[in-house]
């Protein structure tokens, strides 16, 4: 596999397609943070991560259209604290 910095957009997208969706979402989060911090620091190298981020986001969006997330609900037990006492005060 070519170095990620040397990949074309299409090569990058093909490589990303082999990753499971949950890992792609982590990458999206990481790239978003990288871009945000780079912008805050005035880092000119932000241009490259932005292009990678765009490719990742596009792919995730395509997958989510096919397999949208579902809402989850978990029912939790009520917990009890029992108080015990001797009615005769012993």
């Amino acid at each position: 596999m070519a170095n990620i910095d040397e990949m074309t957009d299409e090569e990058l997208k093909e490589a990303i397609k082999r990753f499971p969706t949950d890992k792609l979402k982590i990458f999206r989060e990481l790239f978003t943070n990288i871009v945000r911090e780079a912008k805050q620091n005035g880092d000119e190298r932000v241009i490259r991560p932005q292009r990678q981020l765009k490719a990742v986001v596009e792919l995730i969006n395509e997958r989510e259209e096919l397999d949208p997330p579902t809402d989850q609900s978990i029912t939790m037990d009520s917990l009890s604290l029992a108080s015990e006492f001797n009615s005769q005060g012993e």
């Binding site: 997330p69 579902t70 989850q72 978990i74 939790m76 604290l81």
Partner: protein, 148 residues
């Protein structure tokens, strides 16, 4: 334990009688966190700092420190001769998928006390329902905690 089963921390049992907690409406700020790969210990875990290493990091819809409970209330139930603490269900909007996707437990703590700082109240087992980017809601039963 199965998903939804829970337990109360022993430290809470002591400190609830020492006046550390105010679970009533307008009382303390109560929070629920999600953790992964966690092994609960109701004897030795007493405050948030004891469990925070297993909490998820920020991102994918999750905020470190957890979700603040709303609608908390404590009532006297004379029909069943008990006191009850309850609150609204805890929702996370568009959560995850977290990494790992399935939280092992959720932990309720009180973020208001300063001595001790953020004492734990109770935990519940998760471990089955994965986060997938949709809403993730913890539904309490008829009460969160009953004192019988």
């Amino acid at each position: 334990m199965a998903e939804g089963n829970g337990a109360i921390y022993n430290n809470f049992k002591e400190q609830v009688m020492e006046g550390i907690f105010d679970l009533s409406t307008g009382g303390d700020t109560l929070k629920m966190i999600l953790v992964s790969g966690h092994t609960p210990n109701i004897d030795t875990h007493t405050v948030y700092a004891d469990v925070s290493a297993d909490e998820y990091g920020a991102g994918s819809g999750y905020t470190v420190g957890g979700e603040t409970l709303t609608g908390q209330d404590v009532i006297q139930d004379n029909t069943n001769d008990r006191g009850e603490f309850d609150a609204n269900d805890v929702p996370w909007t568009s959560l995850g998928p977290l990494s790992p996707a399935t939280p092992s437990h959720c932990i309720l703590y009180d973020d208001t006390p300063i001595s001790p700082v953020a004492p734990l109240i109770a935990y519940w087992e998760l471990g089955t329902t994965a986060t997938n980017g949709g809403d993730y809601t913890l539904q309490f039963g008829a009460a969160i905690i009953r004192l019988t």
